[in-house]
C-alpha cells in the first residue's frame, strides 16, 4: 500500500501532499523535509528507488516537479512508477499540457483527480477514460463557470518559466 505521495519542485517547495496513514502534522513536516532533501540530492541518472526507514521510496521527475511515493516492503516499485506516470497523464489530459502552475493554482483539482485515481493508498480506477469521466461529470455540476481563470493564473507570473513548462516536455 502506498503510504504517502509528495509533489515538490526543484526548489524544494511542496506542491501537493497526500497521506494514506495517520501521522501528526509534526511528523509529516519532518518526513517531508527529510525526503525532499534526500531526493533533490540525487543525480539524474540514479535509480528511481531507494530504501528509506522501513519503506521504499519511488520517485520521478517531470520538468520542474518531483513526484515521490512511499510504498511498503512487499509493494511493487515499477508499478508505482507507472502510477506516478498515469497520474501525470491524468493531470495533463485534464489541464491540457499541464505545468507546475496549474497545480499551484488549482491544487484542489489536483486533489480531486488523485482521489478518483487512488484511494486508501491503492489504485481505485486505472482507466484514464473512467477517471476523467468522473471528474468531468463533477465539473458539469459546477456553477459560476469562468473559463478565464486558468489563463489568468498563468499570465500573472510571466517570468517563472520553469513552473510553466509542461511536465511532459522534459
Amino acid at each position: 500500500m502506498m503510504q504517502f505521495m509528495l509533489l515538490f519542485s526543484r526548489q524544494g517547495k511542496l506542491r501537493l501532499q497526500k497521506w494514506y496513514v495517520p501521522l501528526s502534522d509534526k511528523e509529516k513536516k519532518k518526513i517531508t523535509r527529510e525526503l525532499v532533501q534526500t531526493v533533490l540530492a540525487r543525480k539524474p541518472k540514479m535509480c528511481s528507488f531507494l530504501e528509506w526507514r522501513d519503506l521504499k521510496i519511488v520517485y520521478k521527475r517531470y520538468a520542474s516537479l518531483y513526484f515521490c511515493c512511499a510504498i511498503e516492503d512487499q509493494d511493487n516499485e515499477l508499478i508505482t512508477l507507472e502510477i506516478i506516470h498515469r497520474y501525470v497523464e491524468l493531470l495533463d489530459k485534464y489541464f491540457g499540457s499541464v505545468c507546475e502552475l496549474d497545480i499551484i493554482f488549482n491544487f484542489e483539482k489536483a486533489y480531486f483527480i488523485l482521489d478518483e485515481f487512488l484511494l486508501g493508498g491503492e489504485a481505485q480506477e486505472t482507466s484514464k477514460k473512467n477517471v476523467l469521466k468522473a471528474i468531468e461529470q463533477a465539473d458539469l455540476l459546477q456553477e459560476n463557470i469562468d473559463f478565464q481563470m486558468r489563463l489568468f493564473a498563468g499570465v500573472m507570473i510571466p517570468n517563472m518559466t520553469s513552473e510553466s513548462s509542461g511536465l511532459f516536455q522534459s
Binding site: Q74, I104, D115
Partner: protein, 927 residues
C-alpha cells in the same frame, strides 16, 4: 476535454495565491497570510451570513495556507457547514478541507459523520463517492465505528454503481487497516470474493486490493478467491492487448490488476487442485516467456509495466518455491537484468535475487552470477544499487564462496560510502564467523575490519571476536600473536587496543615464551597506547594489567609502579581511580593463590543469538534479512543433495557451533573483566523516541503517555522525597496477542549516575484487549536534566514492534513543598543572590491565562504556594525542596503574569545553578 470549467471561478483565491507567490521574503509572506487570516476570521465572525460561495472560497484559502505549512485553528465549522450544501462544488471543498485538516477532533466528528451519513443515503453516486473518499482519507476510529457495518452493504448491493463499489471496497480496506478489530467478516465475504468475476475491471482492481489484505489476515475465509484469481489472471495474460480497451497500458494488458492478483495469490500456498495448479503455472510461464519477446513499444512505460508484472510473478514463484523449473527460469531472467542498461532494472534484479538465493532450488543458479554482482559492487555509480549488491553477496554466501565474498567486501569497504559502512562491517563479521572453517581466518578478518573501518566497528563486533576467542582454545594462541603484531603499528584504532588489551590479558602467556613478546614487551606495548585512549578503554587496560600481574609475576613491580602513579591513583575519573586503587591493593595483599582464583581465565560465554546478527536485524528490520540459518542453506548449495551430504554438513555445523553454544554461565565469583563487558548492550536500537506527551506530565503524575494503533501506555506515579514508584500499564488495543513482550528502561551514561531505576519484569504475553502492569522503582541520586527512555518490544502478528518512550521522570518530581513566612522567603531570596543561582525567563503564554489553572499547575509542579508574600496579588510565589540522595536543594519560584501582553516572567532561585536551569526549562513550557 471540454474547454469549460477548469477552475470554478474562485477569483479571490487565485489573486491570493498570486499575492503569496509575489512575496519577496518569508516575512512578507507571513504578513500577507496574517492579513488574510484576520480577514477570513472577521468574515466568519461577522453578523452578515456568508453565502455558500464565499464560505467555499475562504475555506479553500485556509486550506491553501495550511498546505503552505502554516497552522490553521479555525474554519473547521464552516467546512462542516459546506458538507450539507446541496451544491456539489461547495460540498466537495468541504470534504477536501476535512480530509486534509481534521484529525479526530471529537466535537466535529459527530457533525461530519452526520453529513456523511446523509450523503451515503442520498443514492446520488457522486455524493456517495465524496462521502466514501472522505471516510477513506480520514480513516479514524470514530468513523470506522460509525460506518463499518454500512460500507460492506453498499459494496455488495446489487444496485450500487460501479464507481461507488470501487470507492466502497477501498474505503473498507482503509478502515480495516485502522481498526482491524471492527471490520466484521461474515455474510458478505463470499459476495466480495465474487467481485473478482465482475465485468468492470475497475471494480475487480479495487476489490482485489481489499481481498488481498483481508486474506492475509484470515486466509481461510477467502480461500475461494484463489481459483477466481487464477482464472482472471489467465484471461488477462492470454488476452490480446486491445481486448481490455482502456485497461491496456502501453500495450500491456491490465498491469495494475495483474500485479494485484499475483499479490493476492502470495497469501496462499500453491493450489492443491492439479488443474488449477497447472493453469497457474501456465500463466507464470507465459509471463516469463513474454519477457523474452521483442518489446511492442520503445517507451519506458511499456517495459516498466511489463516488468512490474514479471517481477511480481517472480515473487510468487519464489513464494511457492516448489517448481525448480520456474525458479531457474526466473533466476536466468534476473541474470539478464543484472546487466541491463536501465539502472532501475539492475536494482530490482539484485533485490529480487536476494530472495531467490535462499531457495534450495535456485541457490546454485544465483551463485553463478557472483562475478557480475562483484562487478556491480565495484562499478555501479549509485550507492543504493551498490547497497543491493552487498545484500545479494551476503545472501548468496555459503561455505564454498565465503572467502571470496568476504575478501571482496573487505576491499570494497576501503572506499565504501559512509552511509553503508557499518552495515557492511556487520555483514562481514557475521559471514566470517558463520563460514569460518579455521578460526585464524576469522581472527584475521575481524582485525582487518578494525584496521580498515575501525570507526564503524560497533561494540557488538569486537565483543563477539572476544567471545569466540575465549570459547575456542585452538585459536587463542594465534589470536594473541596476531593482536600483538597488529598493535605494533604506530597508529592503531582504539577498537584494536580494546581487543588487544583483552586478549593479551587473558592469553598473553601463550606467546610469552618468545623473547620478542616477553611479558614486559607486551605490557610496554599496551601501555604505550594507554594515554591516547578514552576512559572506557583505559579502564579495560587497567583490568588487563591486573591480569598480567597474575599471569606474569615478574612484571608485578613495574605494573604496581604504574598503578601507584598519581595519574592513576588520583585520576579525575572515578572509575579509573577506583580501579587503580583496588587493583593496587589487590596485588599487594592477595596471596598468589587468591590472585589466581580471582583473576582466573574467563569461562566460556553462554551463547544464544549472535549479538551482531541481532544488531543487523535491528538495523535492517528482521523481515528484510535473508535468514542464513534457514535449514535449506545447510545443504551447502548442492541442489541434488543426498542424505549423506546433509548428515555430513550437520556434523560439521554441529561441531562448530557446539563450542559457541556452551551453556555454562560465567562463574559468579565474577572475574573483574566481566564487569567491562556486562553491558554487552541489550538496549534496543535507538529508534525514534516518542516524547509527544512528555511535557504534559511535568505538573501531573497520571495519564496516558503513549498510544498508537496497537498499544496504549498509561502511567500512575507517586513520589516521596528522593524516591518514586511508577506503575506502567500496557494495554493491548487489538484482538490479537502480543508475544515476546518485554520492556526495559535505559538512561544515558550521565543519567545512570544520577537516577537509579529498578524495573520489575513483565509477563511476555499480553492477550488481546488485556492490560498488564509493570512497576518501576526510582531513586534520585543527584539532580539531573535528561529523562530515561522506556523501550518496549513485542511481536504482533509476526512483525516485531519497537517502541521507545521518554519517561516523564523529571527533577521536579522530587519536590517537597515548603511553607514559609514572607520574612523567611525574602531572607532566603536575598541569600540566593549569586548570578548563576537565578534563572529568569520571559515567555509568551501558550494557553489562556487563567489564575486558577496557573495555581493548579504550580501545585502540580510540586512547590507550596505562598500567599501574601508578593505585593502584587496577581503574582505567584512558591517554595520547595528538591530531594536527592546526596543533597537537598531549596528552590524559590516567582511567576508574574502580564495578561495585557499575554506574557509571563518566571524567576527561579536555587542553591545550584543546574537545578535552577532545569526547573525553569520544565516549568516555562507549561503556561
Amino acid at each position: 476535454m471540454p474547454a469549460v470549467s477548469k477552475g470554478d471561478g474562485m477569483r479571490g483565491l487565485a489573486v491570493f495565491i498570486s499575492d503569496i507567490r509575489n512575496c519577496k521574503s518569508k516575512e512578507a509572506e507571513v504578513k500577507r497570510i496574517n492579513k488574510e487570516l484576520a480577514n477570513i476570521r472577521s468574515k466568519f465572525k461577522g453578523d452578515k451570513a456568508l453565502d455558500g460561495y464565499s464560505k467555499k472560497k475562504y475555506v479553500c484559502k485556509l486550506l491553501f495556507i495550511f498546505l503552505l505549512g502554516h497552522d490553521i485553528d479555525f474554519g473547521h465549522m464552516e467546512a462542516v457547514n459546506l458538507l450539507s450544501s446541496n451544491k456539489y462544488t461547495e460540498k466537495q471543498i468541504g470534504y477536501l478541507f476535512i480530509s486534509v485538516l481534521v484529525n479526530s477532533n471529537s466535537d466535529l466528528i459527530r457533525l461530519i459523520n452526520n453529513a456523511i451519513r446523509n450523503d451515503l443515503a442520498s443514492r446520488n453516486p457522486t455524493f456517495m463517492n465524496l462521502a466514501l473518499h472522505c471516510i477513506a482519507n480520514v480513516g479514524s476510529r470514530e468513523m470506522a465505528e460509525a460506518f463499518v457495518s454500512e460500507i460492506p452493504r453498499i459494496l455488495v448491493a446489487g444496485d450500487t454503481m460501479d464507481s461507488v463499489k470501487q470507492s466502497a471496497a477501498l474505503c473498507l480496506l482503509r478502515l480495516n487497516r485502522t481498526c482491524p478489530d471492527l471490520v466484521p467478516m461474515g455474510e458478505w465475504t463470499a459476495r466480495v470474493v465474487h467481485l473478482l468475476n465482475d465485468q468492470h475491471l475497475g471494480v475487480v482492481t479495487a476489490a482485489t486490493s481489499l481481498i488481498a489484505t483481508l486474506a492475509q489476515k484470515s486466509p481461510d475465509d477467502f480461500k475461494t478467491s484463489v481459483s477466481l484469481a487464477v482464472a482472471r489472471l489467465s484471461r488477462i495474460v492470454t488476452s490480446a492487448a486491445i481486448d481490455l480497451q482502456d485497461y491496456t497500458y502501453y500495450f500491456v494488458a491490465a498491469p495494475w490488476l495483474s500485479v494485484k492478483l499475483l499479490r493476492l495469490l502470495q497469501c496462499y500456498p500453491p493450489p492443491e487442485d492439479a488443474a488449477l495448479r497447472s493453469r497457474l503455472t501456465e500463466c507464470l510461464e507465459t509471463i516469463l516467456s513474454k519477457a523474452q519477446e521483442p518489446p511492442k513499444s520503445k517507451k519506458v512505460q511499456h517495459s516498466n509495466a511489463k516488468n512490474a508484472v514479471l517481477f511480481e510473478a517472480i515473487t510468487l514463484i519464489i513464494h511457492h518455491d516448489n517448481e525448480p523449473n520456474l525458479l531457474v527460469r526466473a533466476c536466468n531472467q534476473l541474470g539478464q537484468f543484472l546487466q541491463h542498461r536501465e539502472t532501475n532494472l539492475r536494482y530490482l534484479a539484485l533485490e529480487s535475487m536476494c530472495t531467490l538465493a535462499s531457495s534450495e532450488f535456485s541457490h546454485e543458479a544465483v551463485k553463478t552470477h557472483i562475478e557480475t554482482v562483484i562487478n556491480a559492487l565495484k562499478t555501479e555509480r549509485d550507492v543504493s544499487v551498490r547497497q543491493r549488491a552487498v545484500d545479494l553477496l551476503y545472501a548468496m554466501c555459503d561455505r564454498s564462496n565465503a572467502k571470496q565474498i568476504v575478501a571482496e567486501m573487505l576491499s570494497y569497504l576501503e572506499t565504501a560510502d559512509y552511509s553503508i559502512r557499518e552495515e557492511i562491517v556487520l555483514k562481514v563479521a557475521i559471514l566470517a564467523e558463520k563460514y569460518a572453517v579455521d578460526y585464524t581466518w576469522y581472527v584475521d578478518t575481524i582485525l582487518n575490519l578494525i584496521r580498515i573501518a575501525g570507526d564503524y566497528v560497533s561494540e557488538e563486533v569486537w565483543y563477539r571476536v572476544i567471545q569466540i576467542v575465549i570459547n575456542r582454545d585452538d585459536v587463542q594462541g594465534y589470536a594473541a600473536k596476531t593482536v600483538f603484531e597488529a598493535l605494533q603499528a604506530p597508529a592503531c584504532h582504539e577498537n584494536l587496543v580494546k581487543v588487544g588489551g583483552y586478549i593479551l590479558g587473558e592469553f598473553g602467556n601463550l606467546i610469552a615464551g618468545d623473547p620478542r613478546s616477553s611479558p614486559l614487551v607486551q605490557f610496554s606495548l599496551l601501555h604505550s597506547k594507554f594515554h591516547l585512549c578514552s576512559v572506557p578503554t583505559r579502564a579495560l587496560l587497567l583490568s588487563a594489567y591486573i591480569k598480567f600481574i597474575n599471569l606474569f609475576p615478574e612484571v608485578k613491580g613495574t605494573i604496581q609502579d604504574v598503578l601507584r602513579s598519581d595519574s592513576q591513583l588520583r585520576n579525575a575519573d572515578v572509575e579509573l581511580q577506583q580501579r587503580a586503587v583496588e587493583y593496587l591493593r589487590l596485588s599487594c595483599i592477595a596471596s598468589t593463590d587468591i590472585l589466581a582464583t580471582v583473576l582466573e581465565e574467563m569461562p566460556p560465554f553462554p551463547e544464544k543469538e549472535s549479538s551482531i546478527l541481532a544488531k543487523l536485524k535491528k538495523k535492517k528490520g528482521s523481515s528484510k534479512l535473508p535468514d542464513l540459518n534457514d535449514a535449506r542453506r545447510n545443504i551447502n548449495g548442492s541442489t541434488n543433495h543426498t542424505e549423506d551430504t546433509e548428515t555430513a554438513e550437520k556434523v560439521s555445523t554441529h561441531s562448530f557451533t557446539d563450542k559457541l553454544n556452551v551453556n555454562s554461565t560465567p562463574s559468579t565469583g565474577a572475574s573483574l573483566l566481566v564487569d567491562v563487558f556486562s553491558d554487552v548492550s541489550n538496549t534496543p536500537a535507538p529508534n525514534d523516541v516518542s516524547e509527544e506527551h512528555f511535557l504534559r506530565f511535568v505538573c501531573k503524575n497520571n495519564g496516558v503517555i503513549f498510544e498508537n494503533q496497537l498499544l496504549q501506555i498509561g502511567l500512575k506515579s507517586e513520589y516521596r522525597q528522593n524516591l518514586g514508584r511508577m506503575y506502567v500499564f500496557y494495554g493491548n488495543k487489538t484482538s490479537t496477542q502480543f508475544l515476546s513482550f518485554s520492556s526495559s528502561v535505559s538512561s544515558n551514561d550521565l543519567l545512570q549516575t544520577q537516577l537509579n531505576i529498578h524495573t520489575k519484569t513483565v509477563d511476555p504475553v499480553i492477550d488481546g484487549g488485556a492490560q498488564v502492569q509493570q512497576i518501576l522503582n526510582i531513586e534520585c541520586l543527584s539532580d539531573f536534566s535528561d529523562a530515561p527512555v522506556l523501550h518496549i518490544q513485542f511481536r504482533y502478528g509476526g512483525a516485531l514492534q519497537n517502541i521507545a518512550v521518554k519517561l516523564p521522570v523529571m527533577l521536579n518530581k522530587f519536590f517537597q513543598p515548603t511553607e514559609m513566612t514572607s520574612q523567611d522567603f525574602f531572607q532566603r531570596w536575598k541569600q540566593l543572590g549569586a548570578p548563576q543561582q537565578e534563572v529568569q525567563k520571559i515567555f509568551k503564554a501558550q494557553h489562556q491565562m487563567d489564575s486558577d489553572v496557573a495555581k493548579a499547575k504550580l501545585l502540580g509542579f510540586g512547590v507550596a504556594l505562598l500567599d501574601g508574600v508578593d505585593p502584587n496579588p496577581a503574582n505567584f510565589v512558591g517554595a520547595g525542596i528538591i530531594h536527592s540522595k546526596t543533597t537537598q536543594v531549596g528552590c524559590l519560584i516567582r511567576l508574574e503574569p502580564n495578561t495585557q501582553a499575554q506574557m509571563y516572567r518566571l524567576t527561579l532561585r536555587t542553591s545550584k545553578d543546574s537545578v535552577s536551569q532545569r526547573l525553569c526549562e520544565l516549568l516555562s513550557e507549561q503556561f
